[in-house]
């Protein structure tokens, strides 16, 4: 401590500087004003129509669900031999979308990918809302759903014959995996929100807002003695969420892989499902964030570099998914099991060929465009590709579920699944539920992690000239 050196700190040479995460050298205060301002300012004009449409779709879904529960699962198009169809497709689709949020918030945090800070809040919110949408389908597909709660085949409670749930069933593992995933995602999201809720509290102009944000901020004062525990807890939660997110989609894939159905009974499912989940989730993150970025003027925080990096993740996971599709076919041939071979030939060239090739075009061919930097940085094209990714991943689950089921061993029990209007309206309505939750989120909470984005600017680095460093060499 005694030696005071007089070395002046120079800004690092330009070639060593990465493309900054916050453009135009925005200050700490600007970040607060900009991001908190989205939730504070007057409700933008576009918000109300978007909200009304979302709520209408959501009500449509709830109406369909009420009709389903009061009438029976026969109102859906599923029947023998296709006993699982859009219900489980939608479940896997939504739960997969959630996975990108956890990947961005936890895995990229552990890998010290600082660019995650400007997208993790919204991506985690997306996770939560996607899990809400996902959770509805397995519950309602059971028909008499009141038995789910009492005597309880979803919660470990003995039924009327005093028999407990059977823990060898992957369906029960799924209950635990998805409920744990929803809960831990909520905790992780909330921990990340605490410092920003304090920001909202300190900026609040009305008593109600001050009280509400203050209550949930728990009296956060930004004390470094608190930050110390906070940062450690955040790291532990990231460390816990990472194996969790990998386990959730692995267990979802066990729903299929542990069964004996040709087309489902494959060991490649867990890694293939996890890669597909991340792929679809990043697609949805881009579908949501690109319009938000433009509408809310967040180009300095969600930069083209962010868009480009997400494009690279989509390219990588899309290629893994494509590899998995190819490997499934190879093993079906190499394994020599005629039923397996038939299931796959039928998948690609049978009556559902159109679904299979839609899936391949959207998931395998389309993301290959991201090899080109010009395309990765072209916001409109990225947005269009992200929508194709969403469509493709819905088809993937549909293809896996329906094509494997629709031709049983005996041709007399072959069938062709057609959705009814209830199937369609329930699925479309689930986007309304998702949209409603997301629109409410962006009106009341900061959609970007304010304190974390501040932390990755040069102004926040005490050893950078912009952070106030005058003399170096003493740390």
């Amino acid at each position: 401590m005694a030696q005071v050196t007089t070395v002046k700190v120079q800004a690092p040479p330009a070639e060593l500087e990465r493309e900054p995460l916050v453009l135009n050298n925005r200050g700490l205060g600007w970040i607060s004003d900009k991001i908190a301002g989205i939730a504070e300012g007057k409700t933008p004009k576009w918000w109300w129509p978007a909200f009304i449409i979302s709520v209408t779709l959501m009500m449509m879904m709830f109406t369909c669900v009420a009709y389903l529960i009061s009438t029976g699962v026969g109102v859906w198009g599923l029947n023998q031999p296709v006993g699982w169809a859009w219900d489980i497709t939608n479940f896997v689709f939504w739960i997969g979308i959630g996975h990108a949020g956890t990947l961005i918030s936890a895995v990229l945090f552990l890998l010290r990918q600082k660019w995650r800070t400007s997208i993790n809040r919204a991506a985690e919110a997306m996770t939560l809302f996607a899990v809400v949408c996902a959770g509805i389908f397995p519950v309602i597909h059971t028909g008499r759903i009141w038995f789910a709660l009492y005597p309880g085949y979803l919660i470990p409670a003995p039924n009327s014959n005093a028999i407990w749930p059977q823990f060898r069933s992957p369906l029960l593992w799924d209950v635990f995996a998805v409920s744990t995933y929803g809960t831990v995602s909520l905790l992780f999201w909330y921990v990340g929100l605490v410092p920003d809720l304090a920001t909202m509290r300190d900026r609040a102009t009305t008593k109600v807002r001050k009280f509400a944000y203050g209550l949930f901020a728990h009296g956060w004062t930004g004390a470094n003695r608190h930050w110390r525990h906070y940062e450690t807890a955040y790291l532990r939660l990231a460390g816990l969420s990472t194996p969790l997110v990998l386990s959730v989609h692995s267990i979802v894939s066990f729903d299929f892989a542990v069964s004996q159905v040709p087309g489902w009974h494959t060991t490649i499912f867990p890694p293939y499902f996890v890669a597909g989940a991340i792929f679809s989730g990043f697609g949805m993150v881009l579908t949501l964030m690109l319009p938000l970025r433009t509408i809310c003027g967040l180009q300095d925080v969600i930069t083209l570099r962010h868009v480009e990096l997400m494009g690279k993740v989509i390219l990588a996971t899309g290629s893994i998914v494509g590899y998995a599709y190819a490997m499934e076919f190879f093993i079906a041939w190499y394994g020599g099991n005629p039923y397996e071979k038939y299931a796959f030939m039928n998948r690609a060239f049978g009556p559902y060929w159109w679904a299979y090739w839609s899936m391949v075009s959207c998931n395998v061919i389309c993301p290959q465009l991201f090899w080109f930097k010009k395309i990765r940085r072209h916001v409109v094209i990225v947005f269009i590709i992200s929508i194709f990714v969403n469509i493709g991943m819905w088809f993937e689950r549909f293809v896996i579920i329906v094509t494997s089921l629709h031709r049983d061993y005996l041709p007399s029990s072959w069938g062709y699944f057609m959705p009814t209007w209830v199937d369609v309206c329930t699925f479309i309505g689930s986007f309304g539920l998702f949209g409603t939750l997301f629109l409410l989120f962006m009106r009341f909470l900061p959609i970007i992690a304010i304190s974390e984005v501040k932390g990755v600017t040069p102004q926040a680095d005490p050893h950078h000239p912009l952070g106030g460093a005058k003399s170096g060499g003493h740390h």
Partner: protein, 191 residues
């Protein structure tokens, strides 16, 4: 102590008493250097308040690593044990379910659920451990009543030394904070 309490009794009509000395800084580097000075002066009841976690501040304050990890660990152990015991009790003991002549209980089939419970319990333990160690929630805090301090969640950095610190002295502590380059120093009062 006796004198202090007497003076408090004497000053009964005064509603507020000094809580802490607050020094404002504009950059994380200034706050970091001030923290080093305060640490070296041997203060105990003090803190640095920042809009985000400042890298290197723990060392500058002389703080050790957080113990939150222990909460996570024991939470996880509790979750794994709970899962295994629950499944053993339900399927292997209370109402035995025979499936294909397999053992009534095996940690292998109990693993996925126990694994999820490990993570669930560990996460709750981490969250509650963090809030417990931080003594939060604390919705009323003298600092939160200070208008200037509201900037702590915006772009200002504050070093706060409590008057309860044994080394605190009205003049010396103020001088120390002034010498570390603070542009604004004020006394925060406890209502």
């Amino acid at each position: 102590m006796a004198i202090q309490s007497q003076s408090q009794v004497g000053a009964a009509p005064v509603l507020s008493r000094p809580y802490a000395l607050l020094a404002e800084f504009d950059t994380p580097a200034d706050a970091l250097h001030a923290a080093e000075k305060v640490r070296d002066a041997g203060f105990r009841k003090w803190d640095v308040h920042t809009p985000f976690a400042v890298h290197g501040m723990d060392a500058a304050m002389g703080l050790k690593n957080s113990k939150v990890g222990w909460f996570s660990f024991f939470g996880g152990v509790l979750g794994l044990t709970t899962g295994m015991l629950m499944i053993w009790y339900m399927n292997g003991f209370d109402y035995q379910i025979v499936v294909g002549g397999k053992p009534l209980f095996s940690p292998l089939y109990a693993f996925p659920v126990s694994y999820e419970l490990t993570i669930l319990f560990a996460s709750f333990a981490t969250l509650f451990g963090m809030f417990g160690l931080n003594r939060l929630p604390r919705l009323h805090h003298p600092l939160l009543k200070n208008r200037r301090f509201l900037q702590v969640t915006h772009d200002k950095f504050f070093v706060v030394i409590e008057t309860a610190d044994p080394r605190y002295s009205e003049t010396e502590t103020r001088k120390l904070l002034e010498s570390s380059g603070s542009k604004h120093i004020e006394m925060v009062e406890e209502a």
